[in-house]
Symmetry: C2
Subunit: 154 residues, 2 copies
């Protein structure tokens, strides 16, 4: 019951915490039906578990939900992710025709939405979601900071 009432970003944060406990970079993502708010799927980063450099939370949840629903375009869906997507995942958001992208922490080093290649800003990007950055940013960023601080040598 309690879990059902959590906001999508809180649920994405739960996914990120689960990733950290498994030694994965703590990023979590939740895909939501924009009409009605049903959770369509959730995932966390699994690069280490799968030994797969493409196994980012966003890509995993988009791929799994699309395949399960048999829909290569998820036009009414919104993605909540704890970190600004990298260029790979931002492009996947565009291909999936997601309606909105909500992300938590900004990622100046590797992000691809507000930083670097700014995937949605080019005329070669054929679908741009609405983007809301900085949602529950403090918690999302703290989780990443704690994870990397614990792994720093010395």
């Amino acid at each position: 019951m309690a879990e059902r009432r959590q906001s999508p970003m809180s649920q994405a944060l739960n996914e990120a915490r689960a990733a950290a406990e498994l030694g994965e970079v703590p990023v979590g993502a939740v895909l939501v039906d924009g009409n009605g708010g049903e959770i369509l799927g959730r995932a966390h980063n699994r690069v280490e578990a799968l030994r797969d450099p493409t196994a980012h939370a966003e890509l995993l949840v988009i791929s799994a939900v699309a395949q399960r629903l048999g829909l290569k375009r998820l036009a009414g869906a919104d993605l909540y992710v704890t970190l600004e997507p990298c260029p790979m995942c931002a492009a996947a958001v565009s291909f999936a025709r997601l309606r909105r992208l909500y992300f938590g922490a900004y990622d100046p080093k590797s992000g691809g939405v507000e930083h670097g290649p700014k995937i949605f800003s080019h005329s070669t990007c054929h679908h741009r979601p609405e983007v809301v950055g900085g949602l529950e940013e403090t918690q999302c960023a703290a989780l990443l900071r704690t994870f990397f601080a614990a792994r720093r040598p010395g």
Copy 2:
């Protein structure tokens, strides 16, 4: 025997032709061990078959080979793909630390290497492969042109 002597790009073209026969946009990719030339894996676009907007040839072959070898970085590997990768796949090439990217046709509309976000040109891109574009370009482009011409109404 004959197949073994084919160049990697010819094998990628075979993958692309197989995709076309299945009604998929004809793009094929082959991953090769840069030292020795062993074929590590091959894939074609499977967006329609899987109903998955992320199921591009490059992403599928990188993911499959990395998972099979248990290596999240494929540092000595070279990718041959019949079309300039989109931003999603270009970023995956970078994450996988591939040594070289050879592509066939240029893609001004949706490419992410020489066009649009030019994934490898940003300081937020942490690994840049060597890039060789235009390999067997005529054949690669013709395959795509024929595919789309046959689907145009009227």
